[in-house]
Amino acid sequence: MPVERRRRRGGLVCLCYSWFLSVRHPLLYIGFLLALLSGALAVGNLLADGGPGAAPWTTWLLLLADLGTLAVLLKLFFRAPAASATSSVATPAALRESEVLSLQRLAQIVQRGQTSTEVYTVLLESAVQTVRADAAWLDLDANHTGTDDTNATQYYNIVPAQAEALRAGLRAHPLVEGEHVVNDLNRRPGFLGTSQAYRSLIQLPLRGLHFNYGTLYLLKVEPGTFNREDVSILQTFTGQAVLSIENLELMRASLANQRTQEELKIASQVQDSLIPKNLPTDNWFEISSHSLAAKEVGGDFYDFLHLPGRRLAVIIGDVSGKGVTAAFHMAQMKGIFHSLMQENPLAKNERDKFPVPSKFMAQANTALIHCLEKSSFITSSLYIIDYEQGGFVFARAGHCHTLYYHALREEVFYFDSAGLGLGIIRNESYEKHIKNQFYDYSPGDVMVIYTDGIVEARGGSGTDEYGEDRLKLRLEESYFQEAEDIKNFILDDLNAFTHGFPIHDDQTLLVIKFKSAQPLP
């Protein structure tokens, strides 16, 4: 972390400075006192020897040297702090202050959610101020700038043509990649004999986690003015700038993600509107339904349609896969259902006005050929229940077996019929793989229609599936209840089974209970 590094280094500078202050002054004091003492001794000697004229030449020499030392010490004592302030680099305290301010500005940009271009601008300004550069420019890598403007080279006190001339000189004899201080530019190959004004140069890459964002160049007219210390301070800035850029990128990504979430929420609402809310009601049956998608949108669907002559079409389906792709096909399947289940005015008799389930599946298969990707398929079952005949006909296109309670025989069983899923065979031969099955029902019979998200729900040890057997047992225990109660009984048991495990596939469950004959209202 550049910030930590900066803090550590700042601490070190501070420590060195206080060490310098605490050590330099006592040394000066001691030297000063020693010089005074030896001077006094020398003068004492002179006086004791009976006046200046009688003194030996060595004493004179000693006094002279002593006065010289004293002068130097006095100068150091009073001028030393001022001397460092006049050097090219600011005093450590002043430096730390400007460094902190610059870093604060960089950090604030991120907090304000501003652009990466601004981060680069602040970086360039801070870098120039800190090392008191005469000119500077910042080359950004067009692929990784993260800027809004891809060609966003920034210049300080230098025209692009000048910078380009310098770039050309550097390109001719490239510096090894990384940080560089050049203190006599005009003696470098590529610049020999040129009249360009700058002698000192710092090259500093903006290193990110995965790539370089660009390179910062700082220039000074005077030769030999940049040092390693400048580079390490500047690295703190570039480190912070890169951190800011990467934070901005993360923010941008998270915003985009938020938008996607919002759109998924809308998709989820749209899909919810495709699922029938008002279940068909009549006095000869009860229907209860449940559906739950594993993700925001799902691939399960069911629908109903009243047909003339007290008939009801019930469809259930499951698009392979999950999520958005499945949801699109689910909507498509609903459209196919409603368009194929239209009355055919050319039909010769009443019963042919609507396609029988097997015919419907064959037509749906043809309709899906061109819009379903090769590895996708749809399983579906279509039931046409005829109250007047007291029976139903259905076709199973690869969908889960229908669970049934037969009231007269007091028996629960699965219908065992063959039938191929939709979209698996993409030609006319599909029709051979789908059959109708007719069944007469009695009042009190219960039909349970569901998708594999129910029977393949995971629970127990994590790899156990709910299974057809357990579903059958639950119907054996609840068939005498109302459709709604049977559904809830099954769902309670399913939830107990899957407790603590995430739902991994869409779940749909329909319970239809046939009732005793009622006169028409």
Binding site: S320, S375, F377, T379, H399, G419, L420, I424, H433, D452
Partner: protein, 109 residues
């Protein structure tokens, strides 16, 4: 999910080991999509260690079914666990694909 290919003269045997779901389906798809697979007369799929197959897993076989048929390459499944066979059967694939109990029948098919 691990897919091991065992080529012989005119037969390629693929051993599936693990769960074949959306994430592992890609591995199998890569194997089945290789152009030179159509040079074999038969492709045998050993399902002894295939413990689970999702709709995405079935989708892989379905998407290559026509291609194999067109090239006259016979696709035979064998050693299938009952649970996995049920998934093939519910979807109606047992009528469309050759699924046999053991290697002997697979080689004879």
């Amino acid at each position: 999910m691990k897919v091991t290919a065992q080529p012989s003269a005119d037969t390629l045997t693929l051993l599936l080991d693990g769960e074949l779901d959306a994430s592992s389906a890609i591995v199998l798809d890569t194997e089945l999509a290789k152009p030179d697979i159509l040079n074999y007369r038969k492709v045998l799929i050993d399902c002894a260690k295939l413990s689970y197959i999702s709709s995405a897993g079935l989708g892989v076989f379905i998407s290559h079914l026509q291609r194999f048929q067109d090239a006259n390459v016979k696709l035979v499944f064998f050693n299938m666990q009952e649970k996995v066979f049920n998934v093939f059967e519910i979807l109606g694939l047992d009528a469309l694909m050759t699924i046999v109990p053991s290697l002997t029948e697979a080689e004879a098919a």
